[in-house]
Symmetry: C2
Subunit: 234 residues, 2 copies
């Protein structure tokens, strides 16, 4: 009894979780190189345990390992963003089309996410808005009722989110997207799945091109800054 509540987690897994949070929240920015000994000491664990944690995150794609050269927080390229949105299109649209007899509880969760998203936008809390936006989409995947597809999707979204903290959150106005999400929810509950999938496809394509543009601007600004600092040195 109550066995489900007692779940032991190894220290390595906990460390991986903490590191994962730091990466996803942007506390550790893409490109940052992580050294084993200082990090292990700062978290009060041994070097081996830290290595296991880093191994986990590198297999998740959040860290990138270069043998004998160290581990760094992964950096998304434009190609990566394209791939990730491709994954989103394939999975989310499959999910929508699989929602013929949707679980009412799941529909309620989706509505909750939608409302929290709208509330966050009202409050001009963009970080929270992004969170609930991604949560909304993540819930859609549950229509597939497939743990493998769900965890792959979540892993992929984690990569995307890591890439998004790179850019300034205030660049964009997620409020524009409220009507689209509303529409998606309505079509979904009405069982008009094909139309819903079409709108979702359009939405994802818009979203991708917007992010790509922002990232490109950011990249240009970055390299300009590097050039400026270099010229200042010489």
């Amino acid at each position: 009894m109550e066995r489900s509540q007692i779940h032991r987690v190894s220290v390595a897994d906990q460390v991986a979780g903490i590191l994962r949070q730091k990466v996803l929240t942007g506390e550790l920015r893409p490109g940052t190189s992580l050294q084993e000994i200082p990090l292990a000491e700062s978290m009060g664990v041994s070097r081996n345990t830290m290595r296991e944690a880093m191994r986990i995150l590198s297999l998740e794609g959040l860290l990138k390992r270069n043998i004998h050269r160290g581990i760094a927080v992964a950096q998304l390229s434009l190609r990566d963003v394209q791939e990730i949105y491709h994954v989103r299109r394939v999975l989310e649209i499959s999910a929508i089309l699989a929602a013929k007899t949707p679980d009412p509880e799941l529909l309620r969760d989706i509505l909750d996410a939608l409302q929290q998203y709208e509330a966050a936008v009202q409050a001009r809390d963009w970080v929270s808005a992004v969170t609930h936006d991604l949560h909304f989409h993540g819930l859609l995947i549950r229509f597939l009722r497939n743990k493998r597809l769900e965890s792959f999707y979540q892993k992929t979204i984690a990569e995307l989110r890591m890439g998004m903290v790179l850019v300034d959150q205030r660049h964009d106005h997620p409020g524009i997207l409220i009507p689209v999400h509303r529409k998606l929810y309505e079509l979904l509950t009405a069982g008009r799945l094909k139309e819903c999938a079409d709108i979702l496809l359009q939405h994802l394509e818009d979203s991708e091109s917007r992010l790509a543009k922002v990232m490109d601007n950011h990249r240009l600004a970055q390299s300009a800054a590097v050039l400026a600092s270099k010229s200042k040195i010489s």
Copy 2:
């Protein structure tokens, strides 16, 4: 120059590769429990390195880790098989539909796989036939031109294959499936993608139900054997 050829791999990765092979070929059967120290000694590496290798494989889903209770080769349930075939349907059909302007070289690779598959069947080499069958399907995924989807697919297929070595290879006659694959290839090169996807869907569903039936028989035989041995003891 020639830097691409020189790829160093850590010992842990190599050990993981060897273990992976042993699992996929069935040398280590599902359910087998693996102990760190004996395994590490048998392969001439330290316990830590072996732990890293096992961590890799458990994150791939090939090993299952129970904290403080050891690691065992994962065992596929019928639910797992259903999930994996679901993944196959989603990805392979998306891939087919994405093959509007197929890369000629890829088409040739697919034809090669098909011919090797047919040759294996002619030679009554079922193991090789399964290999080339899965290779054929794996090549289809390349139409997606998406590394994340490809590696996820390969990881999933690896799980499936592990489940398939469980059952007796001689139960089935893969030769029956030659015409279907031939047809898939023809429709694909003809650009009749929708029809191709339909046949593929049918093929995957047939394949799934066949495997499910075989696994169920196997499961019954297993539990019967267990019962028999128990009654012999008592």
